[in-house]
Symmetry: C2
Subunit: 506 residues, 2 copies
């Protein structure tokens, strides 16, 4: 069924060192091209996939498994997208074989409950429900396509052992969620050193796509969609080897080109809270091209201001015995929540400013590049003055916290018992948690509005024929606050698959 | 120049009682129509304006003053849009004749400084700057078109006298702005009883448009834009008198159809914080049709999650001697800020939940429909328990506030001196400030991305030829937080004018 004879050669070439990314051509008009303006098709396929991250490769695999041809275009010289440099965590649950093998009970209801409650008012309820219901099948699919997990659980908030493959990767054990939904470890990650599970994940999936006959072209820059007079998406105009090429997509186009964290103007325009973060996070291809192509075709966008904002205080977890305070000297979040939820509160609710107040027992034992020291003092009153906090505010906050911590209680935010300890031992420090100064990776979540089959929807919620989006080119499961590692990767592989399955039967 | 002979008759008819709004036709496809599908034009004009609120009528006036024909389409049976039921405040400054006549100094710099600082990271810097620089001309234009102001200043935070025409309508006198930018009253409002200045404003502007020969058709429902093969907007398909009609717009189309607060699904999808508010605020025509038509034509949208959230505690101002607290029993905002800024903090930063804690001296002297009483007690400890706040948290907050208030100080949020008073006299009350339970008007601010000439921009920030948007169909000056009454009305009239001026010379 694969009608691109050069697919395999191109694919293998891409795994080695290839030419640097093609120079950007100016797009002469931003609107989609009419089909009538295409004089000939330079390439043809069934499913054209823009991008080769986890969403793109999952679409490619599923297209081939459904018996249709698939062509992935990758703008960079290597495939894998931001997924390849991610932690490679996939949020799965409801009783996966790995959870069971390691002795953890989980249910679809508990997983669904946590995801909905933690995601807040922007949660895509229907998508989350489907995702949870099909999580076991999703796990099986990953394994069937070569993703390997080790039977090893890591109990810390960040995977702390090289062969750890399962951990509590969100706020499941933090208040208030632990009281409402039975916590379970749902972070499934291929074993790796130094949190490079994304490389293992993508190596497996790209190899599976290749083995199944999916084609990949690197250094190929998609520019505009091509639209039939009846509105159906017919293909795309791309830039390849210094030339403009027209690619016909008989079954549709999947926009899986990632987010836009590396287009500074776009971030500033759409997501200023993310623009203030110190560390745009993602591969260089996260330039919003997929989202832009979809908008030009009449696609609606959702949650363009959302993204993850990570305030990676841990490891080590001991720092969570401290308290995070805002510009009024008040605590504002459960410090032992997922670092994406803490980061969200700082970026979106505290104007990007906060400090972590620690004593000698909870401080890092070294100078840590992640969090600059904003102040250090022998007592809290001096710390408060140095930070220019309101008169007596920090003193009162620490006093209240300590008073209750002495009895193992945290009435404000109910940290886990192991993180509750009075701040008593000088010197005291204030780490700068501001999104601008702390090491604060940020990535965009806003994108094209899609349905359960990953079809791009217009402003009336009607699908645009032949157009799909998945991963961070779409508005999917991940919202602000980001509730757990692995939700974005999981969303990409889940809805990338669904796009291809729909295209194959449409 | 006006080539619609029936304009005046239609216009006058619209001022009386007319037939109820036309039933909604299903739009058979959401994409814009191709010009080739239009067999004949049923109506022709130079500038077609969808909507007759302040943005639409300002465009109509300016079109006529620039010598081109203008046709306003109004979906409802009466013109005026949400502007007509608004307070009619226009945010103007920099030394308007009214400010000067009433003895107030103001400068473009102070106005610009306040607007930028208060609006926060989403501020449209270029638009705000132009708006401030041309504020005097804007004032003159309103007056030249029949808008009348009385030489009477009102010193309270809400206009308290029927003939008051100038007041401090934002947070200019609240911390931290008063320390950085010289406060001035910038709320310009036609004198009226019961805050119905919008009726006076729109009566004047609609009469001016009529006198200048602009045409208005009511009960006319715009449905889709019509696009030439080269991408230029050629007109619109509308529904009128039970029939589909095609309207040619030789100079362009202005989408000025308001926001989408009355499309519940759209609000839930794009702006869930607003969906939780008790009182969707605006005329029934705020259904997002203008925004949708623009998206279908490839227009980008901005800030779709934004809107105003008003927590109208005052009048009377005496209630501002109380303190607003969140679910952790902490204060979180200067209570004496503009009620749109307080509402913003509750809706967007406190999960929609807060309480106003007052004593007998600061409580309303009556049962007020705006704020339900959540708890009443003889002491703060009991109030805290009734509200189920964390153990001792409210006690500590009140204690800290009182301790400093005794000396006329408010270290946390620096309320104006007249609002600082210890809470000492029983009974104590907690008013429910939650967006769900309190009277909380909400309106949308998200819309089409436009440039300084109100041209709709695509995803590459390029203007779509012949397409304009103004008022709440566009993303303009008003953002979340909403910084002052009159910014939305002022934005509509200012950029509605600019759209028409550009269309006339393009």
């Amino acid at each position: 069924m694969n009608d691109e004879p050069n697919g395999r050669r191109q694919f293998l070439k891409s795994l080695g060192l290839a030419a640097a990314g093609a120079a950007t051509l100016n797009v002469d008009a931003a609107a989609p091209m009419g089909r009538g303006d295409v004089r000939r098709w330079d390439l043809e396929t069934d499913l054209l996939i823009v991008g080769s991250g986890v969403a793109g490769v999952s679409a490619a695999i599923e297209a081939r498994r459904s018996g249709i041809a698939a062509l992935m275009l990758e703008r960079q010289h290597l495939p894998g997208g931001s997924s390849g440099i991610s932690g490679g965590v996939c949020y799965l649950g409801g009783g996966t074989p790995l959870q069971k093998a390691l002795g953890f009970d989980d249910s679809v209801e508990a997983m669904l409950g946590y995801m909905l409650a933690a995601s807040g008012p922007y949660a895509s309820t229907d998508k989350i429900q489907l995702y949870c219901e099909q999580s076991l099948e999703h796990f099986d699919w990953l394994v069937a396509n070569g993703v390997r997990y080790a039977q090893k659980y890591s109990d810390e908030k960040e995977i702390s052992i090289p062969d750890g493959s399962l951990y509590h990767c969100g706020s499941e054990r933090a208040w208030p969620f632990r009281e409402r939904f039975k916590p379970a470890p749902r972070g499934h990650v291929p074993p790796s050193e130094h949190l490079t599970g994304g490389r293992e994940l993508m190596r497996a999936l790209l190899a599976a796509a290749d083995a199944l006959g999916a084609r990949l072209i690197v250094n190929a820059e998609a520019q505009r969609l091509i639209v039939e007079t009846d509105g159906r998406i017919a293909g795309a105009r791309i830039h390849l080897d210094g030339k403009v090429r027209h690619v016909r997509a008989r079954r549709g186009v999947v926009l899986a080109a990632g987010g836009f964290i590396h287009d500074a103007e776009m971030v500033k325009t759409y997501a200023p809270e993310l623009a203030a973060c110190s560390t745009p996070w993602g591969r260089a291809g996260d330039l919003g091209i997929g989202i832009r192509m979809g908008i030009a075709a009449g696609g609606a966008t959702l949650r363009m201001h959302h993204g993850f904002v990570i305030t990676p205080m841990y490891p080590p977890e001991t720092i969570l015995r401290g308290i995070a305070v805002n510009a009024a000297g008040q605590r504002f979040t459960p410090e032992d929540g997922y670092y994406g939820m803490v980061g969200h509160d700082i970026a979106y609710r505290q104007n990007g400013r906060a400090w972590m107040i620690v004593d000698a027992d909870s401080a890092y034992g070294w100078n840590d590049f992640r969090l600059p020291v904003a102040a250090e003092a022998a007592d809290i009153a001096t710390l408060e003055k140095t930070l220019a906090l309101p008169d007596g505010a920090l003193l009162q906050t620490v006093d209240y916290y300590n008073r209750h911590a002495e009895h193992g209680r945290d009435p404000l935010f109910h940290k886990e018992a192991k993180f509750i300890a009075p701040l008593k031992t000088a010197p005291f420090k204030a780490y700068d948690l501001s999104t601008q100064h702390a090491f604060t990776p940020a990535h965009t979540f806003g994108g094209l509005h899609t349905d359960l089959d990953a079809r791009v929807l217009d402003a009336w919620n009607e699908p645009i024929p032949g157009l799909y989006a998945a991963g961070r080119s779409s508005a999917g499961l991940p919202v602000a606050p980001y509730i757990a590692s692995g939700v974005s990767i999981g969303d990409g592989s889940f809805f990338g698959r669904r796009a291809a399955r729909h295209a194959a039967r449409a």
